[in-house]
Structures are given as structure tokens and as C-alpha cells.
Amino acid sequence: MNLAIKELRRTPGRFLPVTSAMTLLVVLLTVLGGFLDGLELSQTGSYRAHEGKSWAFSAPSELQVRRSVIDANTRAELTDSEGVIAVGQLSQVTTTAGTEEAGLDADALRDVVFLGYELATGVLPEPPVEGVVVDQALSDLLAIDIGDDLLIGPNAEPLEITAFVNDVSQGSPTVWASTESWRAVLGVMATDLPPEGASQVLIIEADSSGVLAPAGVQIADTDEVIGALATVQQQSSTFSGIIGVTFVVTLIVVALFFALLTLERILQYAVLKAIGANTRDLLKTLVTQAAAISTVAVVVGIALSFIFIAFLPPDLPLRIEPYRLVVIAIGTLVTALLGSLFTFRRINRIDPAEAIG
């Protein structure tokens, strides 16, 4: 016979306040987590497009793409290295893009990150001989379609859109061209482009043995490169802080609630002890109730979050990732168990003789 569940089912009103409070906290956690993930993912799409590849930076650049320069000799050396399957250049600049129809007024142009690349990845197609591959996110800002010309850079060089790709934003939408087209479009304006034959970084496809870094070169994987992005680091520490505080609030809510509930139930616990309940019986009751309450709060809270998010403006950078939901569910459960255990000492001290009354 499960006392804890019977009590929950037959006196649900008693548990409604804490379940509601926890449900709202789960909504808060889900939405905050959604913003954290949405912001981070919208900053890192162009990096994640190279998941599984290695990156070569010049050593002093500290994994910042635009500070790095890798010359043709290093590239040749890496290409010949043990375990290396393919090497491709990658460079980027921030510039603007527009369309003929929208015109070239400043407010009709969109900021984009314009990248020259060589290697196809799971996300990126082979670089087009002419034309550009365009971030799907840009089509939300400009009326563009495949076959249209995109006007890129200060000289509004027209390049035909050959494909759209999803989830490759880097704060701004990205536009991808072959290294040659990239240089041709930018050549006129660029003083700070890498010299002819060089690139900012190299993308390396290698077998599982890994790549040996030549002198003056730093090799990193995609996660390390993303970890080195200052904005990403700042945002995630801010949001992680808020999420941590929310968990602490949850802990306090649950602990306070169970403390109050215990006061209400001292007689009931005393009776149970008087008729033979031991510490394990009481602990089981408490843990079962905390687990049941948090399960309901997680399920209802996540469902409410989806409803809530559906009413938010669609251009907010908010993304619900499955792993985030798992973290929230486990975190809430653990927090509720800890919170309920605060009262366990009190329950354990209840004197069965109090049942005499």
C-alpha cells in the first residue's frame, strides 16, 4: 500500500500550491534555457557547420578566426601530414548584402558575415563555382530566392544564390562563396584580407588519429573554437547564473512547503510512528511525494512552456533543445528531493507519544 500516493490522490488540494509554484519555475527554466540555447546556437551556426572537423589557427590568434593567418606553405605541410584527408581554406568578413528590388539605401541592406570556403561539410554543399550559398535566416530578412542575385559588399557585387542552408548563423546571417569568388568580391575594398594564397584558418578533415600541429600553428576541434568565442562565453555564463538562481529558488520553495506541510501533519506522523512506522517508511513517503510533485511540475511546466513560446514573436532567438529539457527535468527532480529532505530531520524527531493527545 502506497501511503504517499494515496495521500496525493485523496488530498490533492494540499499539494496544489507547491505543484503550481514548481510548474511555474519549470516554465521559467525552460524559457530561460531556450533563450540561452537560442542565443548560443544563433552565434555558432557557421562553426557548427564544421562539426567533426579540425581547425588550424596561427598560434598567436587564440582561436579567433579573424586574427589568424595561415600561409600557403603551412597549408601544403598540413596537406601532406599523416592522417590528413583534406584541407580547405576558410576566411570571413562582416559586410552587407542587399537586393536590386530593395535598393541600396543603408536601411535596406542587411549585415552579413561573408565567408570564403573550400570544403563541403555535412551542412555546407561544395562551394559554387560562381554564386553563393546563403543562410536561410537571410531569406527571413530579404525577399530572396534561389536564382536571385544577392548584392554583396560595399560595391554591391551581384552573386547568384545557388542554395540555402539552415542553422549557419553567426550572430548575423552568413553568405558562403568559394575562396576565389570571396576574394574577387572583397579584393577592391580589403586591406585586412589575408595575403594572396593564404587564408585566416584551415579546416582539416583527418582520420581518427588526429592532426599534428606544425610549428606556429594551433589545432583545435569545433567545440574548442566555439568555447573561445567571447560573446558566447559571456551569454552562457549570464544565463547559467540565472538558471542556477532559479534552481535555488525551487529548492527554497520545496523546502519551505514541506516544512509547512510537516507542521500540519505532525499528528499524522506521530500516529504512523505509534503504530510502527520506522524511519524508512517516513522517508519513502516524503521522497515519493517530492518525486511525484516534481514529475507533474516538469510535465505540465514543459507543456505550458511550449504554449507560452508559441505566443512569443517568432524572431526571438529561442530554441528548445531536447538535452536542455532533460537537464531541467533531472535538475527539478533532484532539487525537489533535496528540498524535501530538509524536513526529514524534523519528521524523524516527532515523538510517537504525540499521537496520544
Partner: protein, 223 residues
């Protein structure tokens, strides 16, 4: 054979100026299948004596044996198991678990202390409910039962684990005389049929004929 042996037991509540001597060197023996009525004015220590005999409270001094076990030597965990196995207690305030049905209030005794509610437990609960005239009330919550019915459920709960001793605090004070006699009759039958030692605390002159023996307490002493 004596189920309960209380030897020179004293109980002092509180500290310093607040001290109350509730029991003063009380000695008492109760045999199996004996029903003892404990009487005396309010505040004379009846509940305290019952509580100590039922292993719910430790005496300040003296020794208590139930079925040969010395209670003062058991730790809290052992006492809790001992209560579950050996003692049936009916409290002055009936104290059923409010969110459990009458039947579940009996069964819960079996599920505590690592026990299991098996077919045998269910059968026993049904038998007790029938004997107590509650056969049709098994699914009622305490709030759906009258005072007398609640009292009988509490007696059923006390009998559930086939205790060696049944301790009942003022069972008839809340009942009219007809119901009061019915409840006493039932308690006497249980004590006689199941060979257990029973102590009933009562103020009620109308039920004195049910006891095998009457003991009077005044000021923490047996007179």
C-alpha cells in the same frame, strides 16, 4: 502467565520548577486474557501509564516487561518494531489516518516497518471489519463514519497485527451508553478470544462490569 509486568516505574515530565511527577513507583501486572480497567481522576497518570506500557514513552525510572522483553533495553528502532508487532493502541483521540478508508486504516499497519499487504492481511482486515460490524463501511473515509464507527475502526487497527497487548484510552467517553457498552463488549470478546492482555482507561461507571479487575490511580500512584 503475565503479559505485562510494570515494576517500580516512575515518570517525571519537564525540568526544574516545571517538573511534574506523573507516575510514582507504580507496579502492576496484567495476565494474558485479562481485561484490566484503569480508573482515576483526570491528571492522575492513567494515560502516562498506558503510554509507557505501550512502548510509546520511556519511563524515568523502573522496568517494563511485555511478553518477557525488557522495553527499557530497546533502542528507538527496536521499539518501533516492537509496537508494530506486539502492541495494539487505541488513542483517546481516535486518530485514524484521514485520507485512508476504514479498510486501508487497518491494512496500513501491515505495510509499515517493511511489511507487505498480502492476501492474509486482506483477509484479516475483512474479518475484523465484519466482527466490528463495519462490513459495509470498508470503503468509507473516516470523515464518512460516525464517532462510534471511527472508534471501532481504531480498535480494528489495534488488533490488526495480532498484538500481545491491547491498550485503550477512554473508548466510551465520546459515545452514548448503548454504543459504549457495545464497544466494551467487543473489546472484552477480543481479549478473551485472542488471549491478549487488555488495559482500558475509563471514567465511565456504566462499563465497570466488563472488566476482570479494576485498578484506581490517584496522584501517580495505584491505590
Amino acid at each position: 502467565m503475565n503479559t505485562l509486568v510494570v515494576d517500580q516505574v516512575s515518570k517525571i515530565y519537564g525540568e526544574g520548577d516545571q517538573q511534574v511527577k506523573a507516575l510514582d513507583q507504580v507496579s502492576l501486572e496484567v495476565a494474558s486474557d485479562e481485561l484490566l480497567l484503569l480508573m482515576g481522576p483526570s491528571g492522575s497518570g492513567k494515560t502516562t501509564l498506558l503510554t509507557i506500557s505501550g512502548a510509546l514513552l520511556r519511563p524515568t525510572d523502573g522496568s517494563i516487561q511485555v511478553g518477557g522483553s525488557e522495553l527499557t533495553k530497546l533502542d528507538d528502532k527496536e521499539l518501533s518494531k516492537f509496537r508494530n508487532d506486539k502492541i495494539g493502541f487505541v488513542f483517546q483521540a481516535v486518530n485514524l489516518i484521514p485520507f485512508l478508508t476504514a479498510r486501508e486504516n487497518l491494512l496500513v499497519v501491515r505495510s509499515l516497518g517493511g511489511g507487505k499487504v498480502d492476501a492474509g492481511a486482506k483477509k484479516r482486515a475483512e474479518e475484523l471489519l465484519d466482527e466490528l460490524g463495519l462490513g459495509s463501511k470498508g470503503d468509507n473515509l473516516p470523515s464518512q463514519l460516525s464517532g462510534g464507527q471511527q472508534q471501532r475502526v481504531a480498535i480494528g487497527r489495534a488488533l490488526m497485527n495480532e498484538p500481545a497487548m491491547l491498550l485503550i484510552d477512554e473508548p466510551t467517553s465520546a459515545l452514548d451508553s448503548e454504543l459504549g457498552r457495545q464497544v466494551m463488549e467487543l473489546i472484552r470478546d477480543e481479549v478473551k478470544n485472542r488471549d491478549i492482555a487488555g488495559i482500558v482507561v475509563t471514567h465511565d461507571e456504566r462499563v465497570l462490569d466488563f472488566g476482570d479487575r479494576i485498578v484506581e490511580m490517584v496522584d501517580g500512584k495505584i491505590t
